[in-house]
């Protein structure tokens, strides 16, 4: 069901290749597939309609007709169209010329407002700003307590109503700005209660909170798993309080996230941040190109490249290149590369970003503890053993297992696996041809280069 769009197109285009030219009927068939792919990704029906008509227009145009591979061309157009729709400045809040800058979070229940507030506070604090959190969610039991805990974890003060005092969100918001001035805070993040957009009473409260804090940024927090409803939610919140941006949460799930497209199309304001995990540092700027790939079911190669660029050490990369081209990829190199890769983040997350990964690997949650054990095993070997594992005999195995706190069967498994890695490396460097890699990993490397 979640096949990449390109797979869906294969069937249609394979019969086109002999003819080379797209007829009206071909374009209709393609449009139907695109429509299905977008609907399966939860893009709103109305948004899909608008997109499809724009696409049909372009697909009829000369750029597709003249192209040698109409399939690639159509996918490219769809992708571009999505990027344009999703695009806009990302990752940047508007800073008030007259501090404090006030950020107000709003949205449905369970979208992840409180967590997003904590993550945003952490990020802004990291940029050297003086942040204060305001607990204006007095609906859900223990929401204030949750924000207090998050505040103490990121070491940011939290302003809230006294437990025994009146529980009035507007009052908390009103006093928050004085408190911010007293503490010399230049960013104030207001966490509000989750509410249904049709709950007139709570929507009125939200307007009152907005009026007293006068936010520089009003952010709608949207769950990436949201379906068709995203359009109604975004429209209603925008009409009620006027949105400046969107935070998309829980994108570490496997939802395709069509809601992002729906919301963006309706509100027209940028998606600023995405929540990518349960930890407070799992918070990133939004990338329209990546989201477009995801909605279409393509891999997230750009994130991977960016991460690789940011973390890979040039010297280590150089050494890797040398050992690869000499065909001598040893356990020492493996250890070094593994440490490099781990700097990019949890291995499980990286695997998910690779396009065309075998399903069982993509869905596997890699236990970092197991990788630690692999590292321990290699570290328990002598330099000579790492360079040439064939010298490892029975007694060496026992020693390595004891040294690393593992068992000899684990040491054996590692050695066997490493042999396979070596063979893969040889296959790669021996020919240096892409088809081999494709055969090995079942992936399409042209996407790698395309994203580069």
């Amino acid at each position: 069901m979640f096949d990449a769009l390109s797979d869906r197109f294969d069937g249609i285009f394979s019969r086109l290749r002999s003819r080379g030219k797209l007829t009206e009927a071909d374009i209709d068939a393609v449009a139907r597939e695109i429509r299905l792919a977008l609907l399966e990704a939860d893009v709103n029906v109305k948004v899909v309609k608008a997109l499809i008509s724009r696409l049909k227009e372009r697909a009829n145009g000369a750029e597709v007709q003249k192209s040698l591979s109409p399939a690639q061309q159509v996918i490219k157009i769809v992708h571009e169209e999505l990027i344009t729709t999703l695009g806009g400045t990302s990752g940047k809040l508007t800073m008030s010329p007259k501090p404090p800058t006030v950020v107000m979070m709003c949205g449905l229940q369970g979208a992840g407002k409180t967590t997003a507030a904590g993550k945003l506070a952490r990020q802004l604090k990291g940029q050297g700003l003086q942040v204060m959190l305001v607990a204006a969610d007095l609906q859900r039991p223990a929401a204030v307590e949750q924000l207090r805990v998050l505040g103490s974890r990121v070491d940011v003060p939290v302003w809230s109503a006294p437990d025994d005092g009146p529980q009035d969100a507007v009052e908390v918001a009103r006093t928050a700005l004085d408190e911010a001035a007293r503490l010399g805070r230049n960013v104030v993040i207001v966490d509000t209660a989750g509410r249904l957009q049709i709950d007139t009473e709570l929507m009125l409260e939200l307007k009152q909170v907005r009026d007293v804090v006068n936010p520089t940024n009003t952010l709608l927090v949207v769950d990436a798993m949201t379906g068709q409803e995203a359009v109604n939610v975004a429209t209603a919140f925008d009409e009620a309080v006027g949105l400046d941006g969107v935070v998309l949460t829980k994108i570490d799930g496997d939802a395709r996230g069509g809601a992002a497209l729906s919301v963006k199309e309706v509100v027209g304001k940028p998606i600023l941040f995405v929540g990518t995990g349960e930890k407070l540092e799992d918070f990133e700027p939004f990338h329209p190109d990546r989201m477009a790939s995801r909605i279409l079911g393509m891999g997230d190669v750009l994130t991977l490249i960016e991460k690789a660029e940011a973390t890979f050490d040039a010297d280590v990369a150089q050494r890797a290149q040398e050992s690869l081209s000499s065909g001598q990829f040893t356990l020492e190199d493996f250890l070094e590369q593994m440490r490099q890769v781990r700097k990019m983040g949890p291995i499980g997350n990286i695997m998910k970003m690779l396009p065309g990964m075998p399903k069982e690997m993509k869905n596997a949650e890699v236990d970092e503890g197991e990788i630690n054990r692999i590292e321990a095993i290699i570290c328990s070997m002598t330099a000579a053993e790492r360079r040439d594992p064939s010298v490892i005999n029975g007694s060496r195995r026992v020693r390595i297992a004891q040294g690393s706190g593992t068992s000899t069967s684990e040491v054996n498994a590692l050695l066997k696996q490493f042999k396979q890695v070596q063979q893969m490396m040889k296959a790669l460097t021996g020919g240096g041809k892409r088809p081999k890699l494709r055969g090995l990993a079942g992936m399409d490397l042209s996407q790698l280069q395309g994203g580069n």
Partner: protein
């Protein structure tokens, strides 16, 4: 060769290597499993914060309400329905059945998050009936569609199971933010009202203040709670809740678990372990309920599939149906996986829980 590309290839091979290794290990029999699983709850880690059992005095009824009117699905969905009758009024008034009729019907279902495969299946069935019965009235088509949808949802037992002897356990699972804790509060209220003794197990030790939230509900509903500190082993809390329930003669144990995305294997394994702990008391675990937010899109099906595979869910609790979201994904869940909706949540107070009624639900879809 582009050095960056090379780096990526190396990274890729290493990732594949590690991935293969880890998967190879995982598929091996249980030898390693014991290494991975932290201290079993039967032998609690002495350094771990001990879960505490708190008996909460039921709050005296604040202002005795004259009578608690049980809300019905239809009443709560009134305003949603009004907004959408337009689609069908349009179809019915068009006078004949054409392609546009079918497109409109399809669109209405997709807008309700029913999803493409289930929508296509249902529409095809209705089309077949329309041609077999030689229907020409568009209003009749709408009726047939309703019948078809109700049929899809019918024939299932929506009651919540009870243990023959000893405490009954219902476990609540789901992704983050769907309303597990609130749903537990509502069921706790219902059970307490029915004169049952209820124990809540606060096994969400991950999210900040989750136990606080449940404790507040325990006070409000007059239930007992078993909780540990943030970050405590959820397994030990479930274990303690089970023993507390049997020693105190509780009737129902409601197990709150931390929200987890269904694609996180480690967290799903943890859930499996929690289930195993409950399963030790034979016959106690009667329901494993997946909580699904009505605004969830097609991902809801993936959630249901994965949770079913991991902990064998017995039913769905559909929450937040008081908004404009239709919760059509439960149709797909029932149609593809055969897992029925058991109860529906429609608000934020402990009384906002209603029985699922297929006809009313379908009527509200469009």
């Amino acid at each position: 060769m582009d050095p960056l590309l090379l780096v990526l290839i190396v990274a890729l091979v290493v990732v594949l290597g590690i991935g293969g290794l880890v998967i190879a290990r995982r598929s091996r029999p249980d030898v390693d499993e014991d290494l991975r699983i932290p201290a079993p709850p039967t032998a609690p880690d002495p350094t771990a914060p001990a879960p505490t059992v708190e008996t909460v005095e039921p709050e005296t009824e604040p202002e005795t309400e004259p009578e608690r009117v049980k809300p019905r699905l239809r009443d709560r969905l009134g305003k949603t329905r009004a907004a959408f009758t337009g689609v069908f009024a349009g179809i019915a008034s068009r006078g004949k059945i054409d392609d546009e009729t079918w497109d409109d019907l399809e669109e209405a279902l997709i807008l309700a998050d029913v999803g493409v495969p289930t929508t296509t299946k249902v529409i095809d069935d209705v089309r077949a009936r329309v041609s077999a019965e030689k229907v020409s009235d568009p209003a009749r088509v709408v009726e047939l569609l309703r019948e078809e949808l109700v049929m899809l949802l019918s024939g299932t037992d929506r009651s919540l199971g009870r243990a023959e002897a000893g405490p009954t356990v219902w476990m609540f699972v789901g992704v983050n933010g769907v309303g597990k804790t609130t749903s537990i509060a509502k069921l706790a209220q219902r059970e307490v009202d029915a004169g049952h003794r209820v124990v809540l197990a606060a096994a969400d030790t991950f999210r900040a203040a989750a136990a606080e939230q449940l404790a507040t509900w325990a006070t409000r509903t007059g239930s007992e709670i078993v909780r540990g500190q943030d970050g405590a082993d959820p397994g030990s809390i479930v274990f303690d809740a089970m023993s507390a329930a049997s020693t105190r003669g509780a009737d129902v144990v409601l197990v709150d678990t931390a929200g987890r995305l269904h694609n996180k294997v480690n967290l799903m394994e943890e859930l499996k372990k929690l289930r195993r702990i409950v399963d030790r008391t034979e016959g106690a675990l009667q329901e494993v309920l997946l909580v699904v937010d009505a605004s969830t899109g097609q991902n809801g099906l993936a959630q249901a599939r994965q949770f079913a595979e991991t902990v064998d869910i017995t039913g769905v609790i559909l929450t937040k149906l008081d908004g404009t979201a239709k919760g059509g994904i439960v149709l797909a869940i029932q149609s593809e996986l055969g897992i029925p909706v058991k109860v529906v949540g429609v608000g934020e107070t402990a009384d906002d829980l209603i029985e699922f009624d297929a006809e009313e639900f379908v009527a509200a879809l469009f």
